[in-house]
Symmetry: C2
Subunit: 248 residues, 2 copies
DNA sequence: CCTTATTGTGTCAACCTGACATTAAGATAG
DNA sequence: CTATCTTAATGTCAGGTTGACACAATAAGG
């Protein structure tokens, strides 16, 4: 698709921090730019006749193929200094954008940051865009070199996710439909970056009355097979709405 | 100051929801437009070479005369439908803006919402801008007719303030330097829109160890004179940073 | 100096939390 | 098949926190 900048809202972009959870680590879906040893957040521009939220949804869909994903706008990054003077030229020099687009990319941009919570395994084929050669999950704790302020956007997203933990359905969106208590705990421990007592976690989680125990167990692991749970959607949303009281 | 739209970031504005607390009510500082029976949030445009946060600070300063006020960006309002087709024409028709500015005002805008917490009494002379005839406090529960989506911006600000209560220094910014325990409680009750037990509130608040009791009392009230407190700034900021645990 | 309204302080049972011990169950090795 | 290893599930207990409420202290006003 050729970029028709006339139809775009000037100086406004959208960047998505797409979180996944795998092997007890928080991952972020990133793009590696062609011919440049730098990575970038999946992002997009907003058409003049398009809701900003809408473009965030589109970005997510283009990179992951998924729809109806949890997506939350968390901050507008609006500092002048986030625009590096030579950035557009650099992009042109590495044939990442057409020379005609230099001026468009050279203007001052503000960007709306969104974070998404997706189930890692559902993203089978992360799709690079025209300017990138790789689209893949990167560990939050081992981020590559990134363009502009994208690294700090990710940090901010994580920081805010932590604060909003008790108001956001992270379990529902980052885990598969059925999951074990240890898996749920590992997720919370990872997001919060601290360890929690197994037995107390279980007790508290169950007390929220949002989990339904199935009669299945996860076999195949090397030890005692844990029970599988799934969320009671109605109760979950109700509980999240008022916040899981008294945090972790 | 004549508006030089060339120097402005296109399609981007800033709106401030300025909260004050008076007579046990949350108030919002609003502007009444000239020749129109509608009110508006104090707002501004962002220069191309200006941080978005910066303009929010300026808006606050222009309307209240105050600096170093608590200010927090809470949402970017980015729906296309928030721009009403006839709005710019209406503004011109009522001589609120010059005809030359019609096109500038007619473009599609996204607006960054900020909320500010200010001590009611410090705003001695709320200052209208060129397009408005009155700048005054309005009760959050008795809002006048407002332009565009400004009413919903206020609602959203209040909703988010509630959620972030335990992370935001509302006492410090909405109350005078010295205040009584009942005043502090009234503030929390007002923001949360629910009543709290006097004795339990006091116990909990004191347990945070952020208050310093003075030896003065507030006399003149019709009954027993309550003690005056002030915040231990250092401890307050430290406590707020990690959140006042286990909310109200 | 007595009434009234409000503030300051205390108590108590119920509940929640953090720390830890014990038992149950699946996988694997011999 | 059994011993062993590892992890899951459950229980306990002391200490802290919460919610509900009683009562004494005190300023203002008649």
């Amino acid at each position: 698709m050729p970029l028709n900048t006339d139809k775009l809202h000037p100086g406004l972009s959208v960047d998505c921090v797409i979180f996944g959870f795998h092997e007890n680590e928080l991952k972020v879906l990133l793009l590696k730019l062609k011919r440049l040893n730098q990575w970038a957040l999946p992002g997009g521009f907003v058409a003049r006749d398009q809701d900003v939220d809408d473009e965030a949804v589109n970005v997510l869909k283009r990179r992951t193929g998924l729809e109806n994903i949890f997506l939350h706008q968390f901050h507008l990054f609006g500092r002048v200094s986030r625009n590096e003077p030579g950035h557009a030229d650099n992009m042109v020099a590495h044939q990442l954008i057409e020379p005609e687009l230099r001026d468009w990319f050279d203007q001052r941009f503000v960007t709306a940051g969104y974070y998404a919570l997706v189930e890692y395994r559902r993203v089978m084929e992360p799709t690079p865009d025209l300017t990138s050669e790789i689209c893949e999950w990167k560990s939050l704790h081992d981020l590559p070199v990134m363009i502009l302020d994208h690294q700090s956007i990710i940090r901010k997203a994580h920081e805010i996710l932590k604060k909003e933990l008790n108001h956001q359905p992270i379990g529902l969106n980052l885990l598969p439909d059925r999951f074990t208590m240890p898996e749920l705990q590992a997720l919370y421990e990872t997001v919060l970056e601290k360890s929690l007592d197994r037995r107390n976690f279980r007790r508290k989680m169950l007390s929220y009355d949002i989990l339904v125990q199935t009669n299945e167990r996860r076999t195949g692991g090397a030890h005692k097979a844990p029970m599988l749970y799934h969320f009671d959607l109605e109760k979950y949303h109700f509980a999240i709405e008022k916040g899981l009281k008294s945090g972790w």
